[in-house]
């Protein structure tokens, strides 16, 4: 796949369709891949990579990149196309300046995730059938691909691209995932248990803002938490209340716009399962307003910015007993 991508990107640069290519660049190790812009066939040859570690969702970079002169080629995995569409819907990306090649994805992992599985001192990784064979400082380790994938890929919602100008490889299907299983477990807890669960998770937060800054739905020019004029700017949570509020406000702000791309949980250095907050909102929106998937299209009105007579009344909170 990587070879085909480099060749095609080279062609599109050569024939003037695009002036730049947004993709992934190799690093020091097999897994530390960085999003990068390439401007020539030589640069692509030298550093362009596409493998099981290219987890970064490139869509958000297009907010800036599509405002520069000339057209940019971007490679989008199925789940990245949802983010792209959502950004188009929010008028954040200049569509004419982007050429999208949809690429297939069979799950992305990362070095940190493999280490959490007990692998130490990663020197290299080979993919052999359904296994990752990891060469380490302390000998070789084999991990089944299935076990080496993080939650978002094990519960992939779709292998189908929602938008593209050109497709590479085979198109997949929207999948029946189990992504709400854990949300259901949380709903089944008592309020006290649930509070304890979230406190134990959120109390680890160091407020590095990685979750917010990587999030394609967090595209405000200036976040209230960064704005000294907002009156609620904060760099560190002074207490547990503020710690909770940052996450709850963020979850509310992206409600109905979060495509469940899973980037927030991927980047969190403290391993906080942030996707569970967002999935709770997605699940509730599905229940109250009918099935809705953000980023599926660019035109429809989102449930939370629309009005229909069937909309739930606020009293739903009491009907549900206020417990979940």
């Amino acid at each position: 796949m990587q070879g085909m991508m480099i060749a095609r990107a080279g062609e599109l640069l050569e024939n003037g369709t695009v002036t730049r290519v947004l993709g992934w660049q190799t690093g020091e190790f097999v897994y530390d891949i960085t999003p990068a812009v390439f401007e020539s066939a030589e640069e692509l040859e030298k550093g362009f990579v596409y493998n099981s570690f290219c987890g970064n969702n490139l869509s958000k970079y297009l907010i800036q990149a599509s405002r520069k002169e000339g057209k940019i080629l971007v490679f989008l995995k199925p789940c990245d196309t949802y983010s792209f569409n959502q950004l188009i819907k929010e008028h954040r990306i200049v569509r004419e300046n982007v050429y999208i090649i949809g690429i297939p994805c069979d799950g992305k992992t990362d070095g940190e995730f493999l280490k959490a599985k007990g692998v130490k001192g990663i020197l290299g990784i080979r993919e052999e059938g359904d296994n990752f064979v990891v060469d380490t400082l302390y000998g070789e380790k084999t991990i089944a691909r299935e076990d080496a994938l993080p939650e978002r890929c094990r519960n992939c919602k779709s292998k189908k691209h929602m938008v593209y100008d050109e497709l590479m490889g085979e198109e997949g299907e929207v999948l029946d995932s189990h992504r709400f299983d854990m949300v259901e477990k949380l709903e089944a807890m008592t309020p006290d248990e649930r509070f304890a669960f979230w406190r134990s998770q959120l109390s680890r937060c160091i407020r590095c803002n990685a979750c917010r800054n990587v999030c394609p739905a967090c595209s405000c020019e200036k976040c209230v938490f960064d704005n000294p004029q907002s009156g609620i700017a904060q760099k560190a949570a002074a207490d547990s209340f503020e710690e909770n509020m940052f996450h709850i406000i963020r979850a509310f702000h992206v409600a109905g716009r979060c495509t469940d791309c899973g980037e927030c949980s991927r980047v969190c250095p403290q391993n906080i399962p942030l996707h569970l907050l967002n999935r709770k909102f997605i699940k509730d929106i599905d229940t109250f307003y009918g099935e809705y998937q953000a980023g599926e299209d660019t035109e429809s009105r989102a449930p939370l910015t629309n009005y229909t007579q069937e909309d739930v009344e606020p009293s739903i909170v009491y009907t549900r007993g206020g417990n979940n």
Binding site: E28, T34, K120, G121, S200, R204, N209, K235, A236, Q270
Partner: protein, 340 residues
Amino acid sequence: MLKLSLKKLDELFAAMAQSQALYIPADNGGQAQYLRWAPGMKMTAALNTVRSAKDFFFPQTEGLVNFKMTGKTIEVIDPRTEAEDFVVFGVRACDARSFSILDKVFLVDPVDTYYQNRREHGTIVTMACRQPEETCFCTSFGIDPTHPEGDAVCWMTDDALYFEAVTPKGEALKEKIASLFEESDDAAVKAQQAETKAVLDRLPLHTFTAEPLGGDVLMKVFDSPSWKSLSEACLGCGTCTFVCPTCQCYDVRDFDTGNGIQRFRCWDSCMYSDFTLMAHGNSRNSQVERFRQRFMHKLVYFPANNDGEYGCVGCGRCLAKCPISMNIVKVAKCLEGELK
């Protein structure tokens, strides 16, 4: 050298915790973190903690002064309490070195008394590394992970813990726990060190050096055209600064309590948009400039002002944790390439 069977590790922790607080690296939510020891708590198998050990002396938030208003009088209250004595057990060589870097910032005139207070009450017990990760490059900064600095040093083999006191604080701790130990020669430690050194030679970054950036190259590096591409994908998040044991910048903020002010400091990051915001405006308006600051500070400015000592200890945390995998090694290698 003192020796203790690992079967007695819990007893050792109990003895250390008897007269002061004890912190050990333990697992929490799938990550290693320093936690206050309580009976039953086990040490993590991870090489190092996600947050560094700097938290003990330079916590993420810390109260500085309170103002209380009653009518027309303002009372100024020092919220500081004398820190309790504490032991941090299991600090790695890289983090142990980070304290001397932080000392160069906080203990020079004017001395930061908040930092000093915590520093004086802490005893550092370090632990030699046995299985370094591929992201480790402490040796590039002259650190020996098989023999860390610290008030006392430990080595852990498969069945025993070896202990050596180094400073008066370490000796004081030794006195409290010596009865648990037996005297031993250092053969097992020597053997382990040799084994670890063989691994260190195979680390992918073992030939990395920041040396070329320590010279008289400030303006050349500052003006490098590469900063743009290096910083292109940076999210400006601050993960790298917050997990780094040597990042030392903070902001001072006021919390309005309704009838007074609590003035506190909290970690800040040069990667943040309002880091250099002043009354006249901001002197670093783009992410390129902010990104450049972090690496210039560690690789160029700090050594220029501190007899060649770099502001990095090679712990590898920013290599492991940056969401876009951009880090000090990639930056240094790229800049050094240009200087050639």
